[in-house]
Amino acid sequence: MNGAQDLGGTMGHGPVNPELDEPVFHGDWERQVFALTLAMGFFGQWNIDEGRFARESLPPAQYLSSSYYQIWFAALCKLLVANGFATDEELASGKQIMAPRSLPRKPLTAGEIPLILAKGGPADRTEPGPAKFKVGDKIHTRNINPHTHTRLARYLRDRTGEIVMVHGAHVFPDSSAQGLGDDPQWLYTVRFSARVLWGDDRNPNDHVHADLWEPYLVAA
């Protein structure tokens, strides 16, 4: 979706302002949001793409005026309610009103965390067929504007680029975020000239690379 998350090339947000000696978390509430998001995600009731969509579908005014963990918190609340873990009333009161929902597995324990984190969640899958493109091929990105999740950012649409890496087939987020399954698709890294993306006044030496799935691309 063309939501507030699609920030590439937008303007007016101000300077970057890196923080000196920044701590990993700013206060306990950030620790709690981070840990709760990971711990609840571990039940597997939503995948990473559904999690991203929960964040990017927040109203743009809210998304842009929230800190990042505020965005995570708002999205976690949405996901908990949508998946029957809690009700809006419970979130407002902090008190249990409904019985807990049945759990697909036991809650995460401290002991299993190192192994689970080390395993991660690889996104590569069996290839659905031969790759359409190879390194060096010129491609053109499609102009799509779905209301659903996509990783083809606005600034990368309808642009000509060149394949520079082929990564095998990966979970296709446009399907996965809608609960339509992994739908594995070939994933490529595509190289775009800054001039193609932003106009002729850009430095001709500069390039942007993005990881794009085959359904985003047509031969140029």
Binding site: E56, Q96, N205
Partner: protein, 204 residues
């Protein structure tokens, strides 16, 4: 909005988060010890010192450097860094002709096993919006000046591939050992918004 306003918003958030945590514990969904372990992992165990060891080894060991560039996931895993948000690693190397810089315009993708959790600025609108359209302007704000003739390569992490920048080995470091070299490798140098430190300097 005023500073006070921001503060009251934040304390309101903190209260709501606390209520959520209590609720999820009360409902038996989460174990407080597991939450502590998750926080502790990323607060004390996983961070940019991991990535610095990867870079220092690549600087010191030509075979490892080759492996890192051809199969970063395996080369990094060989040092014990793997897993969540680092399942598919790619290492990109700075040279006198190429400067690499990593961003995630759409969210906050970042190679956790080698760099830990991303700093606020990396996840914020100013960096995410500008890194792809005005990388040199952003670099200038970080005090990094790149020659007009040098290519700036921005990597927008739009999939589950995670990028690690191998900064240039600083001059004057020729005789240093791997452990000493690692101390020169800053977090920002591995994102591409900084350079490795010169021997004798300190930085973030």
């Amino acid at each position: 909005m005023s500073k006070d306003h921001d503060h009251s918003e934040l304390s309101e958030t903190a209260l709501r988060v606390k209520a959520l945590e209590s609720l999820l514990i009360e409902k038996g969904y989460v174990d407080p010890a597991a939450l502590d372990e998750l926080v502790d992992t990323y607060e004390t165990k996983v961070g940019p010192r991991n990535g610095a060891r990867v870079v220092a080894k690549a600087w010191s060991d030509p075979e490892y450097r080759k492996w890192l560039i051809s199969d970063a996931t395996a080369a990094i895993a060989s040092l014990g860094f793997a897993g969540r948000q680092g399942e598919h690693m790619v290492a990109v190397e700075n040279t006198p002709n190429v400067h690499n810089m990593v961003v995630c315009t759409l969210c906050s993708c970042y190679p956790w096993p080698v760099l830990g959790l991303p700093p606020v600025w990396y996840k914020s609108a100013p960096y995410r919006s500008r890194a792809v359209i005005d990388p040199r302007g952003v670099l200038a704000e970080f005090g990094v000046k790149i020659d007009e003739d040098t290519e700036v390569r921005v990597w927008d992490s739009t999939a589950e591939i995670r990028y690690l920048v191998i900064p240039m080995r600083p001059t004057g470091s020729e005789d240093m050992k791997e452990d000493e070299l690692a101390a020169l490798v800053t977090r920002d140098s591995m994102i591409g918004t900084g350079m490795a430190l010169k021997p004798g300097a300190v930085g973030r």
